[in-house]
């Protein structure tokens, strides 16, 4: 049964993010992800206030990274959230956004070992274990939270490249695939299969989430205009292998990244083409996005995350998704499971 997630970027005022979170819950979204970038409002403060104004929607960082925040701090934060909203917390973890990491001279070195060890630390600490470990990246001589935790915070690993996808499937409860195109999801599932095999799990044991850049509006042009800045960030941080698949040169991606780092927005956004929007977003009218979501589900997506920007008018777009997109999937499921 497909689930729907939604992502908010706490660049907005805290009460706007909370307003949209309440709206998402009312409209039947299953999970709320809030991004973690040092230059926006703090993800855990944002999630804490969301938790106070919602009752059932699941929520968590989507995604935090172990370069900015030590995984023990992440474990502490999600455990605290889980005390506020038991059973509703999820933890999204990834290598982070290269562009913002570069702003503080952090390099996502040894990403596979870093993520593997981070998942181990977060899982152990959130389960109340007293953890001692000597890893390649992290060394912990004995750490345990001073408050009771309830185990079972699902850990989702953000992934795009083949090795990270396999690792995410091996160690995670879910995979947040940074992709919006069915070909990319289909290819990703090949690597996810490698990971689940290695861990002696079944493919159905892991949640496969397409973490899309999503933009819905009645007017196609308005939707495209709103999605351009997000696509620029995606192209700027995209691995070469993915860019090649969509015939985008590394040189173009580097130029866009440099322009973003220097806050030359016009220069960055002017390089975004229709092909890039098609490759890296789900963008268009409700009918078009419904068709694109159907394709993603057909290739194996179990959670569709409507990521930023969601629409030119977020409130209207959330209502539009609930009224014009959800019924295509939820009615089908109701019939299927009746």
């Amino acid at each position: 049964m497909v689930e729907f997630g939604i992502e908010f970027v706490p660049r907005d005022l805290y009460w706007k993010t909370t307003f949209y979170a309440i709206q998402a819950e009312k409209n039947g979204f299953n999970t709320l992800w809030i991004t973690d970038h040092f230059n926006n409002r703090n993800v855990y403060v944002s999630l804490a206030i969301v938790s106070a104004y919602t009752e059932k929607i699941k929520f968590g960082p989507g995604v935090t990274n172990p370069y900015m925040a030590h995984p023990i701090v992440t474990a502490q934060a999600v455990s605290t959230l889980n005390e506020i909203a038991p059973g509703r917390v999820v933890c999204g973890l990834g290598v982070g956004d290269r562009t913002t990491l570069e702003m503080v001279n952090l390099k996502p070195s040894k990403p596979l070992a870093t993520i593997r060890e981070s998942v181990r630390i977060i899982r152990a600490i959130t389960s109340g274990e007293n953890l001692k470990m000597e890893g390649k990246i992290f060394s912990i001589s004995g750490a345990k939270l001073n408050f009771k935790t309830t185990s079972g915070i699902p850990i989702f690993v953000g992934a795009q490249g083949p090795k990270m996808l396999a690792l995410a499937a091996e160690v995670g409860d879910g995979i947040l695939i940074n992709a919006s195109h069915p070909n990319d999801i289909e290819k990703a599932i090949e690597f996810i299969n490698i990971g689940v095999d290695k861990a002696s799990k079944r493919l159905t044991d892991v949640e496969i989430a397409a973490y899309t850049s999503f933009c819905v509006a009645k007017d196609q042009k308005k939707a495209e205009k709103a999605v351009v800045p997000v696509v620029a960030y995606i192209v700027a941080g995209c691995p070469e292998s993915i860019l090649q698949k969509h015939n985008i040169s590394m040189d173009t991606a580097t130029k866009i990244r440099q322009a973003i780092i220097q806050s030359k927005w016009k220069e960055a956004f002017s390089q975004i083409t229709d092909e890039m929007i098609e490759a890296f977003s789900i963008c268009g009218s409700p009918e078009i996005v419904t068709e694109k979501i159907s394709k993603l589900i057909r290739v194996g997506t179990t959670q569709l995350v409507a990521g930023s920007p969601i629409g030119p008018n977020i409130r209207k777009s959330i209502n539009m998704i609930a009224a014009e997109v959800f019924p295509h999937f939820r009615e089908k499921e109701d019939k299927q499971y009746a």
Binding site: L13, Y14, W15, K16, F19, I22, Y53, N313
Partner: protein, 92 residues
């Protein structure tokens, strides 16, 4: 005139549409940051309980929208045909 009295002049049949339009002003104004945190939390409280299209919810929305974008608030009230309300607001 107090907001309580102003809002009472809005017929209950128009609460829903008025609420929708005031929410749009509050969320989409470039001056949204003028909203005091306490008022924002009150609005969130009523939103969570589906009470923004009630008399009490409209009072707080109107307070916020007048603070954030008075011109647009007046324009919306005129568009909805609440001329008397506009006169009261403009003179207060």
């Amino acid at each position: 005139m107090a907001l309580e009295k102003i809002v009472r002049k809005i017929p209950s049949s128009s609460w829903e549409i008025t609420s929708e339009k005031l929410i749009d002003i509050v969320l989409n104004s470039p001056d949204a940051k003028k909203m005091p945190s306490g008022l924002a939390k009150t609005i969130l409280y009523y939103w969570q309980r589906d009470q923004l299209a009630t008399e009490i919810g409209l009072q707080r929305l109107l307070e916020a929208s007048v603070m954030i974008d008075p011109d647009k608030t007046i324009a919306v009230l005129k568009e909805l045909g609440f001329e008397e309300l506009v006169t009261v607001l403009e003179s207060s």
